[in-house]
Assembly symmetry: C2
Homo-oligomer: 140 residues x 2
DNA sequence: AATTAGATTAGAATAATTCTAATATATTGA
DNA sequence: TCAATATATTAGAATTATTCTAATCTAATT
């Protein structure tokens, strides 16, 4: 299966087999300028609407996790309100910060430049800092 | 049932009935100086070891969620490594920041003073900021 | 002590995710 | 091009975490 679209480059160069399903998901997730945030549930219903070839739920889970392992997606856990916690995935895999809008349950990227540099003044653990993540919650 | 310990004050003043189970859990969680972080699983096995009166898992869930609703506990979601995500609870309910030590899966409070003041420079959403949470991941 | 509102409990139900193993498909190399 | 084969997809079963149910039980109140 051949296809020269840019968004398939990562898939092609990853060593993964280019299947119909992966290409379909890849096309939806990565053929865009803005980053995209979604839950497995979101993705499933979007894919269902986009095409009449049904992709099984197991494949959606498999693909998302495969993409995550390959570094194409980043997982983000959010305390949504009171009763529902959610697993989001983000097409922006760089280290960056988020707004979480509690009125819409939407995750929004924050530009690094919109958050000042964060310095951790004291780290009693002496272990190496791997990342610093800021989550800004927006009121309902 | 009478008891004058300080850590029971919150329970007593909350309007909740003082049951054996709630007192037991309260005693363990709040009769200490340092804050404490735990998962439901942690709590269950700790309680099992502490006393030979078994508290049912349903009650542990109920109590933790009741305490959360009363504002005695705060829930914190963390992307633990690759496969396991975890729901932690924190006895420190104030707005504060955390280290997450990926080698031990331990959550550690960060003093506010150890993180500089965080200013969000641009908020395109115009919605009110409810909270700002920083998570510092410590490498394995 | 009797009443009763609310709590506890075991086990059933549910929901989210992963597993299984049968089938299908993409890639490779003749 | 066409087998061979390694890997992917799939439906549905299994698992896991959590919540629900409805039968007791118990703390607080009279």
């Amino acid at each position: 299966m051949k296809n020269n679209n840019v968004f398939l480059e990562k898939l092609r160069s990853s060593g993964l087999i280019l299947t119909k399903q992966r290409i379909e998901i890849c096309k939806f997730l990565f053929d865009r300028k803005e980053t995209f945030h979604f839950t497995i549930n979101d993705l499933q219903s979007i894919l269902r609407k986009r095409s009449n070839e049904k992709i099984s739920l197991a494949t959606i889970y498999n693909t998302v996790h495969t993409f995550k392992k390959k570094g194409f997606l980043k997982e983000i856990l959010i305390n949504s309100n009171s009763n529902s916690n959610s697993n989001y995935f983000d097409t922006n895999v760089s280290n960056h910060h988020h707004f979480f809008d509690e009125s819409t349950n939407e995750l929004i990227d924050l530009k690094d430049s919109d958050v000042g540099d964060i310095k951790i003044k004291k780290n009693i653990t002496k272990k190496k800092i791997k990342s610093i993540e800021v989550l800004v919650r927006l009121a309902k």
